[in-house]
């Protein structure tokens, strides 16, 4: 019985982790049709921001929840103004430019921080479930994923910002019709997407540590999850994460981590063959 609970928890944790690493990318893709291949490095930067702040004496929670998203969000706005803005409507070019950005960020962080930055330990201690123990922080991250999804949904559903965002998702000209400059919408969207990545990067730092190349571990999974999810930011990401995360964890438990990983990838390929526009490209088209 304990084992079943712990298994279920592990699946939730895997799904939550996919949601978290994909969300920033999904916001930017869903709203702007821009694939940010530097997404992994945005997460990495969030981790460095949190750890640097923490080592400078900032409270851990403040460092993870405020400093990291703020830093990366601002960085995102700068990137949008300097690079992305010139490439709207050119999907492939934005992918290439952000990829260049990702390489440059890895190089830059290596030069500035070196690669032996000490990490921070996960707070909150551990939980005991029957004969098993699990990190309370992992459970906290499941909670964070839920909160972020719920908050995103509320913003899109109920606020003026959300209205503008939904309009822009349907039709890029809509923002102008609502009296907002599309350029501003894009800058804000990219900033929010980047801030989300920064937040998640900060939150994951205690579990994964920070090295300049950590982004590579995230980007492929995030990319695959977002594209499998399709155009709807929240439901697409949530459904794709649920599906892929469950398959991954189940296969990992039953066999080995490699088979888990390969099962996830094969599932994504088959999914895209059946639904070439992603899950929400076919179903739940009107979802958020």
């Amino acid at each position: 019985m304990d084992y079943v609970i712990i298994l279920a928890l592990q699946i939730c944790s895997a799904v939550a982790s996919l949601v978290l690493i994909s969300l920033g990318l999904a916001v930017i893709f869903g709203m702007m049709r821009v694939i940010n291949l530097a997404h992994g490095e945005f997460l990495m930067l969030g981790g460095y921001a949190a750890i640097t702040a923490f080592n400078k004496g900032v409270n851990l929670w403040l460092a993870m929840l405020v400093v990291a998203p703020l830093t990366v969000g601002l960085f995102g706005v700068v990137v949008e103004r300097l690079v992305i803005r010139h490439l709207y409507g050119r999907l492939i070019d934005t992918m290439l430019a952000t990829w260049g950005l990702s390489l440059a960020m890895i190089g830059f962080v290596t030069v500035v921080f070196g690669n032996t930055v000490s990490g921070i330990s996960a707070p909150l201690g551990s939980l005991t479930i029957g004969a098993y123990r699990t990190g309370a922080y992992e459970v906290f991250l499941i909670f964070v994923a839920l909160v972020l999804l719920a908050a995103g949904w509320s913003v899109l559903r109920y606020t003026r910002l959300g209205l503008i965002a939904r309009g822009t998702m349907q039709n890029a000209g809509m923002a102008a019709a609502l009296g907002v400059s599309p350029s501003l919408v894009y800058a804000v969207t990219f900033g929010i997407g980047a801030a989300l990545s920064g937040l998640v990067g900060g939150l994951l730092a205690p579990l994964s540590g920070v090295v300049p190349t950590i982004g590579a571990a995230y980007i492929a999974k995030a990319f695959i999850t977002v594209i499998s999810g399709g155009a709807a930011i929240l439901s697409g990401t949530a459904i794709a994460s649920g599906l892929l995360g469950t398959i991954n964890t189940a296969a990992t438990f039953a066999f080995t981590p490699v088979i888990g990983e390969v099962a996830l990838l094969i599932a994504a390929v088959i999914l895209l063959r059946i639904l070439p526009q992603g899950i929400t490209g076919r179903f739940f088209r009107r979802a958020l």
């Binding site: 190089g107 492929a220 490699v258």
Partner: protein
């Protein structure tokens, strides 16, 4: 542009190619020969993506899959066969077959754009993951251990056909690689000049119209994709003979590198990606010799490559070849229009009236 210019261009490329093929072994030092062999193997890979992305408009994020498959097929087959000739043939045939399967899966499913990118990327990741975990003995194929992360260091060198044991010397491998590159380059040129080639380019321009004209676009895309896969396999074969095969051949950075060569050299040309490939190879090679003083002065190659890529996408999106020909055209126009008026812009305006 008249017909004279492309002819002159082809001739120039051929002369440079033959010059390298016959000139370099006679004059250059060994390390340059080895470097040039690696560059030439990679240049074939650059041509393979230039063909399917630049001409057919299929952005394959997993060209490394065919490259790696070519290398591994060769290594495994050569270890088992003893004679390498059959292995070399397989090294081209198997990636081609794999491309046929994957292409059938994608093109008959009407998958395109970024979705095609994700699938090719994912497939190369699957292969990478798979090969990476084959360190155990259960992963021996016949005599050949797949070797996991470490690869197959004992990759045999090609022998003269029919004479196992008579290995090709490094100069021979060099000549083979450069000779193949020249063949592949002009082969692709010739292919693109045929009806098939022109239809493929038309698909890049407007797939719907091609279908409405009565051509089955899927067949053409599949064919060019298979040719691209075979060329990538050929490149993997040559790479296996100049370095050795390891799982990094399948990795994301390799796929990425190919895309960088093509974008820097110029999308929609064949010579551009070859030049882009060689330039980037020379550059990264040079970057690795810079760090002579430990403790400070590290130049991070990632930083340099990243900045180059961003700058090219933003400022030189059509690549070096376009930059050169535009500059040449601009200069020519400046020189020609000097006497009466010096307003080249005004002359170009009226055509674009709405």
């Amino acid at each position: 542009m008249s017909r004279v210019l492309p002819m002159a261009g082809n001739l120039a490329v051929l002369l440079v190619g033959l010059g390298v093929l016959f000139g370099l072994p006679a004059y250059a030092e060994t390390y340059l020969i080895i470097n040039a062999t690696i560059f030439a193997s990679f240049a074939i890979l650059a041509v393979s993506l230039a063909l399917i992305w630049g001409y057919a408009g299929i952005l394959c994020f997993g060209q490394a899959a065919f490259f790696g498959l070519g290398g591994y097929t060769y290594a495994v087959a050569a270890i088992n066969f003893g004679d390498t000739t059959g292995a070399a043939v397989l090294a081209v045939a198997l990636p081609a077959m794999f491309a046929a399967l994957l292409g059938y899966f994608m093109f008959w499913g009407r998958i395109s754009d970024v979705y095609l990118g994700v699938i090719t990327l994912t497939v190369s990741l699957i292969l990478y993951r798979f090969v990476n975990q084959t360190a155990g003995e259960e992963w021996n194929i016949g005599q050949a251990p797949l070797g996991g992360f470490n690869g197959i260091p004992s990759t045999p060198i090609l022998n003269w056909p029919g004479q196992p044991g008579e290995q090709l010397a490094p100069e021979n491998i060099f000549s083979l690689a450069v000779g193949l590159l020249i063949l592949v380059y002009f082969g692709c040129k010739a292919l693109l000049a045929t009806k098939f080639g022109r239809i493929v380019v038309a698909i890049r321009e407007n797939e719907t119209r091609v279908e409405l004209l009565g051509y089955d676009a899927r067949v053409y895309k599949l064919t060019i994709f298979v040719i691209g896969g075979a060329l990538a396999g050929l490149s993997g074969l040559m790479f296996a003979n100049s370095v050795f095969v390891s799982p990094t051949m399948f990795s994301l950075p390799v796929s990425g590198q190919i895309i960088i060569w093509v974008i820097i050299g110029g999308l929609g040309t064949l010579i551009g990606p070859v030049i882009g490939c060689i330039m980037m190879q020379v550059l990264t090679n040079w970057l690795g010799t810079l760090n002579q003083v430990p403790g400070f002065g590290w130049v991070d190659p990632n930083l340099v490559l990243g900045v180059i890529l961003v700058v090219f996408v933003l400022l030189v999106p059509r690549g070096l070849t376009a930059l050169v020909s535009d500059t040449y055209g601009w200069l020519a126009q400046r020189l020609r229009s000097r006497p009466p008026t010096a307003e080249p812009d005004a002359a170009a305006q009226p055509e674009t009236a709405p």
